[in-house]
């Protein structure tokens, strides 16, 4: 027995590359939106400050895009590289959204961002603003397609089993892209993207506002306005995240009950009708003991799970993990296999995500409140600016937690109920090869991540007046 298995290393690598990639996806989509709003304000109000804003935050957008695109190429390749048997099994269905994504979204995104970057003075302002809107729209569309592929893994639809070739076959493309799971997932991810970008801009502005004396009145106004626009997007985004997250939870209860039970830490079935208070309590903290199959050290809040799961003070029934395990063993005819997901990770990831949602909601409201009128309060409460500054990193943690729930909670399947992770991995993958690629990816991502943060800070410290036009060398009118 070696220390690592091919499966573990492949899973670790997949998690690492997708989580790293997904730092930049929501950041690009969200900053794209906010920059689009800023540039539109410039077109409408003709106030130069908004143009400066669009250019300045546009730099952050470009940085994010620069790392997001190539780490996205990994996604397109790694199914074949690391998960070849998965690719064979689902390629007939799963490949199509990926190809469509590249064809309809990536081309538009990359072409129009090039146009946007380099043509500030060559097109009418509204045409130029249109370029960034197209880029933003295209990046949202790309998310739609890739989440369509992911939704199929969560909730397989529109397929038939092709026994002869040992694979799944697509039977209805329309049904594939109207998968109910996709509606929930797409809206949840999109709102999450708004939150992500909003808090990056709020946080970075807050860091600058800590030095407002040095900045002078004009720049202080610049960052306060930036913060305001971003906080509004953040507020709407967090409300949307909570609403869509709730809808997704309702769907999940029926579709992947084991994931739900793990999220809520329900070991043995909770039936409100058998309890004195006629309600389900919600476990805030606790620990899953994988040996005894018990959730121990629970701290419970009465009524809360009824409210969350049943949308009412009382009632509701949550089938526990132990019963579900027996059910699944029966359903898939494998008595010796356990169908427990990585309970503790899923359980705490959910708390991080949902708790984080509450926190960003609160911060957005407070930021808007303190920033009203001349923003004296905001500038005075330095502790609050510090909190906002640190909150720059918060959405990345929340997003990653969300994906851990979604992906780990599907254990042991890659395609829910149909195909397991263990069957998916490339038969010819080797432990040394995977150790090598894991190691290099890790170093590369570390380096890029650090460079990202360092350069984002430099952009910030240089300030909006330092934003040179992204001119092409000697590309000024008359000389061309």
């Amino acid at each position: 027995m070696s220390l690592f298995s091919v499966l573990d290393l492949s899973r670790f690598q997949f998690a690492m590359t997708t989580i790293f990639h997904f730092f930049f996806v929501p950041l690009s989509i969200g900053t794209g939106l906010i920059v689009s709003i800023m540039e539109t304000l410039y077109v409408v109000k003709k106030d130069e400050m908004y143009k400066k804003m669009a250019r300045f935050w546009g730099k952050i957008f470009l940085l994010s895009f620069a790392v997001g695109v190539p780490t996205g190429i990994i996604q397109e390749f790694q199914f074949g590289m690391n998960w070849s048997d998965y690719s064979r099994f689902v390629g007939d269905i799963f490949g199509a959204p990926l190809a469509v994504e590249a064809l309809v979204a990536f081309f538009a995104e990359s072409t129009f961002i090039g146009l946007w970057m380099f043509t500030w003075d060559r097109f009418k302002p509204w045409v130029h603003a249109l370029f960034i809107w197209v880029t933003t729209f295209a990046s949202a569309i790309s998310a739609l397609w890739i989440l369509g592929a992911n939704s199929f893994m969560q909730n397989p639809v529109a397929f038939a089993i092709d026994g002869k070739m040992n694979r799944l076959k697509l039977v209805d493309f329309f049904q594939l892209i109207t998968n109910p799971q996709l509606g929930f997932e797409f809206s949840h991810v999109l709102f999450g993207a708004f939150v992500t970008a909003a808090f990056v801009i709020v946080g970075m502005s807050a860091f600058r506002l800590l030095k407002s004396e040095k900045l002078g009145a004009e720049l202080t106004l610049f960052y306060r306005k930036s913060l305001k626009i971003a906080a509004i997007v953040g507020l709407l985004g967090s409300l949307g995240s909570i609403a869509s997250g709730d809808a997704q939870t309702q769907f999940l209860m029926k579709q992947q009950p084991m994931k739900f039970a793990a999220m809520e830490g329900v070991d043995n079935t909770l039936d409100s009708s058998k309890r004195d208070d006629k309600a389900e309590p919600w476990t805030v903290i606790g620990f899953w003991n994988a040996k005894t199959h018990k959730f121990v050290g629970k701290i419970e809040v009465p009524y809360a799970l009824s409210i969350l799961g049943n949308h009412s003070l009382t009632g509701g029934k949550t089938v526990g993990m132990n019963e579900l395990n027996k059910q699944l063993q029966r359903e898939y005819g494998n008595q010796s296999k356990d169908y427990y997901v990585p309970v503790n990770t899923v359980f705490y990831s959910f708390r991080v995500m949902a708790g984080g949602a509450g926190l960003v909601f609160l911060l957005a409201i407070l930021a808007l409140y303190f920033n009203r009128k001349d923003g004296k309060q905001l500038l005075k409460y330095r502790w609050f600016l510090w909190i906002l500054g640190i909150a720059t990193y918060l959405p990345f943690v929340i997003n990653s937690a969300g994906w851990l729930i979604t992906e780990l909670g599907r254990y042991p399947w890659t395609v829910y109920g149909l195909f397991t992770t263990a069957d998916s991995v490339s038969p010819n993958a080797t432990v040394p090869g995977l150790l090598f690629t894991n190691g290099i990816f890790f170093l590369a991502f570390g380096l890029l991540g650090i460079a990202m943060i360092v350069y984002a800070r430099r952009v910030l410290h240089a300030g909006p007046d330092d934003v040179e036009y992204e001119t092409l060398a000697k590309d000024k009118k008359g000389e061309a």
Partner: protein, 333 residues
């Protein structure tokens, strides 16, 4: 083999050919960050010439990969898992290349700009070199098992044939990039490109001859599909001669288009030699065929409709973008 399967085999080839035609020149321009540019201003000129378009060019590779997954999952699975380490190297090169373009632009005033520019130069060589190796090693044949998995040893990947293939693709990209530079910039870079092209073309012709001979003796491409291979092979040489001639006569546009065509024709050569297979097994019994590597008829139909609608629109705005940026960048000297 159905017509639909044939169509998609051709389409995958077209996507890869489009990729090499487009990204080929920006690989070539990228290499010049190390080989030709001496001053900050010159590097600025190089970056300006490809800045607005390199990203969209790269999407052609993404699309080719995605389209292969969608239309020939068994090809995609076998190729991508079989060439694991090499594709990994290509990925790392592309990641650092893309990040470097952006980072160098963000750090105008810092020393680290140089480090990122060197990275552009190196990665712009590594990516086409390894892609060339992958494609040539693929057509040469691999130890494939009944399941379609490749269990190759070092020399299955790295051998005379694949090394020549890798160098050829890198050299073609470099020439293509030089031609692009001549279209886009003036000043010293222009002169250096002119000088280098004088040597590069004869070198390429010699390389092509060597590659043809090696193909004849080390692979079965000529036996497998003699008609097409014996047509395309001289076409490549003639295109190279035309490009050389145009370049020498100062017809920069024509030289650029033809140097791109060389790359596209190389893809055609390799794909024609593959046909009707998609992967060549050392044991022919285990070669993977178009016929049984593809997705179902329904999926291919859906994808065809999508392509029919999306491709013309995509091409339209990509070409428009090239028109918007069609201008020359002067040197102040």
């Amino acid at each position: 083999m159905s017509e639909l399967q044939l169509l998609w085999f051709v389409l995958i080839g077209v996507l890869f050919a489009g990729f090499f035609f487009l990204e080929g020149y920006d690989f070539g321009v990228g290499m010049q960050f190390i080989t030709n540019a001496h001053t900050k201003e010159e590097r600025e000129q190089l970056y300006s010439s490809i800045g607005p378009n390199w990203d969209a060019n790269e999407v052609w590779l993404l699309t080719a990969g995605g389209a292969m997954f969608a239309s020939f999952p068994f090809w995609y699975a076998s190729l991508f898992s079989g060439f694991y380490i090499m594709l990994f190297i290509v990925l790392i090169a592309l990641i650092f290349r893309a990040a470097s373009f952006e980072f160098r632009d963000q750090v105008q005033k810092y020393v680290s700009q140089r480090a990122w520019e060197r990275t552009i130069g190196i990665s712009s060589f590594v990516a086409p070199f390894f892609l060339g190796m992958i494609f040539t090693a693929m057509v040469k044949g691999m130890p494939i098992d009944a399941h379609g998995d490749i269990y190759g040893g070092f020399f299955d990947y790295v051998n005379i044939y694949s090394l020549v293939g890798g160098v050829a693709v890198a050299l073609m990209s470099y020439i293509h990039g030089l031609n692009f530079t001549k279209l886009k910039v003036e000043g010293r870079l222009y002169d250096v490109a002119t000088k280098q092209l004088k040597f590069a073309y004869p070198l390429l012709i010699a390389g092509e001859a060597l590659f043809a001979v090696l193909t004849f003796f080390m692979t079965d491409l000529f036996q497998n599909n003699p008609v097409w291979e014996f047509i395309i092979c001289p076409v490549i040489v003639v295109t190279t001669l035309l490009s050389w001639f145009a370049s020498a006569k100062g017809k920069e546009g024509f030289a650029f288009v033809t140097s791109g065509l060389i790359l596209a024709e190389l893809v055609a050569f390799l794909f024609a030699g593959l046909f009707p297979r998609v992967m060549v097994g050392n044991n022919p019994k285990f070669s993977i065929l178009i016929e049984n590597a593809s997705s179902s008829t329904y999926t291919l139909q859906v994808m065809s409709i999508v392509v029919l609608i999306a491709l013309p629109i995509t091409l339209a705005y990509q070409i428009w973008s090239f028109v918007v940026f069609a201008r020359r960048f002067k040197s102040s000297k």
